[in-house]
């Protein structure tokens, strides 16, 4: 799909993990990604917003899990065959927190040249980039921690 990963540091900056959220393919900055696991069991929190699926347990700690499809305003995928939870670290360096992003599938690790990203509306959606004949939504995970 994407360009094979290169080992240069500069290239590492543009490395993203592609995941599927509904009809969208989203690129998560690989630096923020801590782990990809099979979809964790989530316990809902009554009264929470739709984006927050609930709490899960990851590594013996509570992990808030957000619904990526709801975050990017995608239609929920119909019975994904292999859903995953992407564990990411967000927030400032002095107070990074662990978050889970529930996605329909984890695709691959690709390099998205920064200059190919067309800036978006800002905030959580950094922009969009063409990749392998497809438009990938590049996400700004730091925005989740602020």
């Amino acid at each position: 799909m994407g360009e094979p990963l290169k080992e240069t540091r500069t290239r590492r900056e543009g490395t993203h993990l592609l995941v599927r959220a509904g009809e969208y393919t989203c690129g998560l900055p690989l630096a923020a990604v801590r782990r990809v696991v099979r979809a964790l069991t989530v316990h809902p929190l009554p009264g929470a917003a739709g984006e927050l699926e609930g709490l899960a347990e990851f590594g013996g700690e509570p992990l808030p899990v957000l619904n990526l499809a709801r975050l990017v305003n995608a239609s929920p995928g119909a019975n994904p065959s292999y859903p995953v939870t992407v564990v990411v670290r967000v927030g400032p360096a002095d107070g990074r927190e662990m978050l889970g992003l529930a996605a329909d599938a984890a695709l691959e690790v690709v390099h998205v040249p920064p200059d190919s990203i067309v800036a978006g509306e800002g905030g959580f959606l950094q922009g969009e980039a063409p990749l392998g004949g497809e438009v990938v939504r590049i996400l700004n995970l730091e925005a989740l921690g602020s």
């Binding site: 080992e7 993990l17 099979r38």
Partner: protein, 542 residues
């Protein structure tokens, strides 16, 4: 004058003549003696004595005889009168007019009158009994006649029925013969069907064996297909496992890439390996998908095979079931054919026996027919006899009615009374008509009542609608045309009393009637004749 009396009178006269002769002889002797000289006184004495004896004789015997003669002549006249009265009374009696006969008996001397009256009364009672009995006899004879007619009719119907039954039995016998023939044919056919059924059953049993073998083979195919299906499921499970491993490997490769990226330059090689692992996992997944697709097709084929074998098995089962049903049906048919053959033979035998029995019945029925025919003939004779008896009863009744009795059963008496009523209304024609109207409804046996005024040629006529019904009265009858020339009119006028005519058929009803006709006198002059047409059938039913 009576003979003894005449003889006595003649003896008395003879005695007188003898006395006279003796006196004359004595006188002559005395005259002779005187002539010869005898005493005169002797002569005179003798003459005196002779005259005296003669006178005494005349005085005593002859006068007595003379008065007796006068008395005898009076008695003779009275006797003749009594004889005439008696003859007249007996003449009435002869005519059957016991009413007037009884009246005439009063003119006869005491014991004769009493005796005649008693005799007339006894005869009257007897005649009334005869009249009553004759009515009953006539009625009974009529009933016997009707019964005889019904019996004769029934007997004829019975004879006809026996003939019909005989014909039916003959037809039945013929039909039985046909049934016997048909049953025999049916028995042969049923036997042939039984043999065909045996052959067919063997063929069907072979077919059943063949179908069972096919079913077994289909079942074998189904078993193998099921085994294949189960194997396919196992392959699916293996594929799922491989997919699971591939997915895990995929995630593992991604995490390796993440770790490699985190390791910076140190993880460069590892990231390559991770990428290769990811590709391997992806290829594995793709291969699994290919295998899964192939397996889907394979499984689809197996399912199709299973479905086909199931359908084939079901169809074979159905064929087998039908074949078994056919075998069972053939067996039943064979049994039924066997039963049919047996029953048909029994029917044939029974119908042959029935045929023989029918022949016997026909013979018996013919005998019965002859008996019934003889009985019908006898009944016919009986009917004729009853008819004669009926007529005789009628004749007896007619004869009994020749008596004029003071009885309500006496037609003459009734006619006389009605004639007396008419006589009292002479001069009032409407009253006579009303009287006739009233009287005709009083006696149901009177078909027609009429009074013909012979002097004026006028007729009052009333018909009894209960007897005549709505039949039209002929104009000649209504006007009394030619009534004066009718036998009943002439006979009544001639006899001067009620007469009965012989039987004749009514112009109105066509039924047998007779007429009672009574002359009506006024002041000794004939005014007309009252006629009653009596319907015999109604009369005998009183």
């Amino acid at each position: 004058m009576s003979e003894p009396f005449v003889e006595s009178f003649n003896h008395a006269r003879a005695g007188l003549l003898i006395l006279g002769g003796i006196a004359v002889s004595g006188l002559l002797l005395l005259l002779g003696a005187q002539a010869q000289g005898g005493p005169v006184w002797m002569f005179n004495a003798f003459l005196l004595v002779a005259i005296g004896v003669i006178a005494l004789y005349v005085k005593v015997v002859y006068r007595t005889q003379q008065s007796l003669r006068v008395e005898v002549e009076g008695t003779e006249r009275r006797r003749e009168e009594v004889e005439i009265s008696l003859v007249r009374a007996l003449d009435r009696l002869r005519a059957g007019d016991l009413v007037n006969c009884s009246g005439m008996a009063g003119a006869l001397p005491g014991r004769l009158s009493l005796g005649l009256t008693n005799a007339t009364n006894a005869l009257d009672v007897l005649a009334q009994q005869i009249q009553g009995s004759s009515i009953e006899v006539a009625s009974a004879a009529g009933s016997v006649n009707e019964i005889a007619s019904e019996l004769a009719s029934g007997s004829s119907e019975q004879a006809a029925s026996v003939v019909e039954i005989t014909a039916a039995m003959e037809e039945l016998a013929r039909t039985a013969s046909q049934i016997a023939g048909n049953a025999s044919s049916q028995a042969d056919l049923a036997q042939a069907a039984e043999e065909s059924g045996t052959t067919g059953q063997a063929a069907v049993e072979e077919a059943v064996d063949g179908v069972e073998e096919v079913k077994k083979r289909i079942s074998g195919i189904a078993s193998r297909a099921e085994i294949l299906g189960n194997r396919s499921k196992e392959i699916y499970r293996v594929l799922d496992l491989i997919t699971e491993i591939a997915q895990e490997t995929h995630i593992l490769s991604l995490n390796a890439a993440i770790e490699a990226a985190a390791a910076g330059d140190h993880g460069r090689r590892f990231s390559v390996v991770a990428e290769e692992v990811r590709r391997l996992a992806q290829r594995s997944q793709e291969s699994v998908e290919s295998v899964r697709n192939l397996l889907d097709e394979f499984a689809g084929s197996i399912r199709t095979t299973v479905v086909a074998t199931e359908e084939g098995s079901k169809e074979a089962g159905r064929v087998l079931e039908r074949a078994r049903a056919a075998a069972s049906a053939i067996e039943d048919l064979r049994g039924a054919s066997s039963d049919t053959a047996r029953v048909a033979r029994e029917i044939s035998l029974a119908t042959q026996q029935q045929n023989a029995a029918s022949d016997e019945v026909v013979l018996t029925l013919k005998e019965v027919s002859q008996v019934v025919q003889r009985m019908a003939d006898g009944l016919k004779h009986f009917t004729e006899t009853a008819d004669r008896l009926n007529r005789l009863g009628l004749v007896i009744q007619m004869l009994a009615q020749s008596f004029h009795l003071e009885s309500p059963h006496s037609l003459k008496h009734t006619a006389e009374q009605w004639a007396a009523n008419v006589r009292r209304r002479l001069g009032n024609w409407e009253a006579i008509e009303r009287l006739l109207e009233e009287l005709v409804h009083r006696q149901g046996f009177v078909e027609c009542l009429y009074f013909y005024d012979g002097r004026r040629g006028q007729t009052a006529l009333v018909v009894n609608r209960q007897v005549v019904g709505d039949r039209e009265v002929p104009g000649a009858v209504r006007t009394g045309e030619g009534f004066a020339e009718r036998p009943w009119y002439k006979a009544a006028v001639k006899e001067g009393k009620t007469i009965l005519t012989p039987l004749f058929n009514s112009l109105l009803t066509g039924q047998p009637i007779f007429t009672a006709a009574t002359p009506v006198y006024s002041g000794g002059e004939l005014e007309g004749v009252l006629g009653l047409d009596v319907n015999v059938d109604s009369w005998t039913k009183i």
